[in-house]
Amino acid sequence: MASSVISSSPFVCKSPAKKDLGFSSFRKPSQISIHGCQRKSISRKIVSVMAPQRSSSTSGSVKTGMTMTEKILAKAAEKSQVVPGDNIWVNVDVLMTHDVCGPGAFGIFKREFGDNAKVVWDSEKIVVIPDHYIFTTDKRANRNVDIMREHCREQNIKYFYDITDLGDFRANPDYKGVCHVALAQEGHCRPGEVLLGTDSHTCTAGAFGQFATGIGNTDAGFVLGTGKILLKVPPTMRFILDGEMPSYLQAKDLILQIIGEISVAGATYKTMEFSGTTIESLTMEERMTLCNMVVEAGGKNGVIPPDATTFNYVENRTSVPFQPVYSDANASFVADYRFDVSKLEPVVAKPHSPDNRALARECKDVKIDRVYIGSCTGGKTEDFMAAAKLFHAAGKQVKVPTFLVPATQKVWMDVYALPVPGAGGKTCAQIFEEAGCDTPTSPSCGACLGGPADTYARLNEPQVCVSTTNRNFPGRMGHKEGQIYLASPYTAAASALTGHVTDPREFLQ
């Protein structure tokens, strides 16, 4: 019966920290939480998910301070306390998937829960965002979107940002574009929640003070059926960034600086928590850029304490209530890094690793073949505003093909509609045109990850590209011998104007 309890389960024990089950690595076997039948939004369909007997895990324990991430996970696991290393079942608030991984995730769900199974979990918590391989004639890519349409119809999934007319993205009212930007823009990111996505850059949403991380199809299939996931609580590395942000510096420079400092595996299995006066001064989009590349340092998730900036953004986009959390003053961090941002300079990540950091000005002799401005990392409205601002200040034409790929429909519209501050009323689009850039293209992930052969701006030859994207491992944008310099939108724009890797101060002082 649904409510019966598996009291004979070897994984449930009466007292915490029992070690004789043979799992010394399971710190507290009793941590297996009861199923959240009590959660307000769980539908009656949950009746089929059962819970082991709750055991008293908190009796007598002294409450120690927790970090933001520990608190979010504790709450999601319905525990009063967790410590890094605990393996816990966590309730998931939002699951995101896209065209590349959605079919696989739903396939696994059906395999495990039955071909006729309905998502046991609340279908309004699933957000399906086609974005990866959209504007292509690749039949398989196209079929993936069709498959997701079928699943969403069958499962009555409300948030499916569909596209049917590939010839004109504007003819698709539901279509958004890049999933991580769309999640934020559509109000799916909220402080204190647990958001999972079948994409490594799901960590972007940590900017909203929530736990957000990428998972594979199998885990996603599990979440679809249960609304839960088994997670190990990560320890937190703290990055305190203070000081006034120089006018030529952007969040991309900050994260490249940090990754260069700790390496591509420096945060593996850990949380990267960002705080400090500089962080507080950042807009939401800049915070998203920062958290976006946490995965490039190996991080499990990134997190920024929510504040008025966060609440303002979120409350304008959703009426779902949320509960912000903050690290306790006596929380434990495994590492502490401090940066005086006022002393930092624009940086790039040279081929072929995101941690191959160098000062932009020291790469000025590197001749480039093209510039790419786009992706969840560097294709948001403010990213284009920044590039346009630099182009306008310079008043020159680009020397190399400059590809512009707005992340979402909304970003595309902003590029065409919003006046760029200080540019006498001109829009980004106008400035880009005057500078000789390519026309902004249909919003999607585009060539950030190469994509099918006919993807716009794909690196099909061994060229040198300065890009506002997130990874530059060999072959990332297409050609194996392509050389990708990761950079901020300012640096990318400056480089386009000179045909070499260029520090934006050349045009922005």
Binding site: A51, P52, G107, I108, D219, T268
Partner: protein, 258 residues
């Protein structure tokens, strides 16, 4: 039809007939999860009608997953393919191949043929010879941060589909490790030292997993290396994967519960 108790059509050979194996006290620094289940993880058959996307039951990959038995009894033997640090998922399987999902043997073969095809041309020895589907190397030896990059399960899937049985890396990127365990396509093992500097592609190696970890023997050089125990992933592997584990601990009902 309301969604009732989910039926479990999956005839996982292991899970139902599995003897209650002693819980292997594997310890390791790594994550959890495995589904050493010999099936194709992702799958939509386009030929089926919309309402029922049939997941074809794959023929069990010739996986040392007899891992339905405890990990302690698992042995892998074969030629090794040696890589260095930071092999990211795009090198394991170029991103444009992600449109393939191995829902049937044909696409599984296809994705297998591309395994590690993203490696730069400086890797003159190919993991899978162009025109073939299977690799002659069943064990991959790597340095740090193996599998960094994307969360796409295509990475461990293509390796398993190409015939790789296990990876011995110094360290893993977390999503890749988790996906390897979840899909059961390859066993992600960790070495204690930098084995990738002491082995050469083509060496014959044996991996024996034991209760307290494992042992890698390079028959070509005669050297042996200890492997770290699986750790938190152990109970999940032993249960037969995350779904089986969840049923075992009562998080989701077993098929036999009415």
């Amino acid at each position: 039809m309301a969604s009732t108790l989910p039926t479990l059509p999956r005839a996982l050979p292991s899970s139902s007939s599995k003897p209650s194996s002693p819980l292997v006290p594997f310890r390791s620094s790594s994550l959890k999860f495995t589904t050493p289940t010999p099936f194709i993880p992702s799958s939509i058959s386009l030929s089926s009608r919309a309402a029922s996307f049939v997941i074809p039951r794959a023929t069990p990959a010739s996986h040392g997953s007899g891992s339905t038995e405890t990990l302690a009894k698992t042995t892998f033997h074969g030629l090794c393919f040696v890589l260095k640090d930071n092999i990211d998922t795009d090198q394991i399987i170029p991103a444009d191949k992600a449109t393939i999902f191995p829902s049937n043997q044909q696409e599984r073969d296809e994705i297998a043929s591309y395994a590690l095809s993203g490696l730069p041309d400086s890797h003159t020895t190919r993991f899978v010879v162009p025109g073939e589907i299977k690799s002659k190397y069943s064990i991959i030896i790597a340095g740090e941060n193996f599998g960094c990059g994307s969360s796409r399960e295509h990475a461990p899937v293509c390796l398993g589909a190409a015939g790789a049985k296990a990876v011995v890396a110094q360290t893993y990127a977390r999503i890749f490790f988790r996906n390897s365990v979840a899909t059961g396509e390859v066993f992600p093992l960790e070495s204690e030292v930098r084995v990738c500097d002491e082995c050469t592609t083509g060496d014959t190696v044996t991996i024996e997993l034991r209760d307290s970890g494992g042992l890698l023997t390079n028959h070509t050089t005669g050297k042996q290396y200890k492997l770290k125990a699986i750790g938190d992933a152990g109970p999940v592997i032993d249960a037969g994967g995350i779904f089986a584990y969840a049923r075992k601990v009562g998080m989701i009902p077993s098929p036999s519960v009415a």
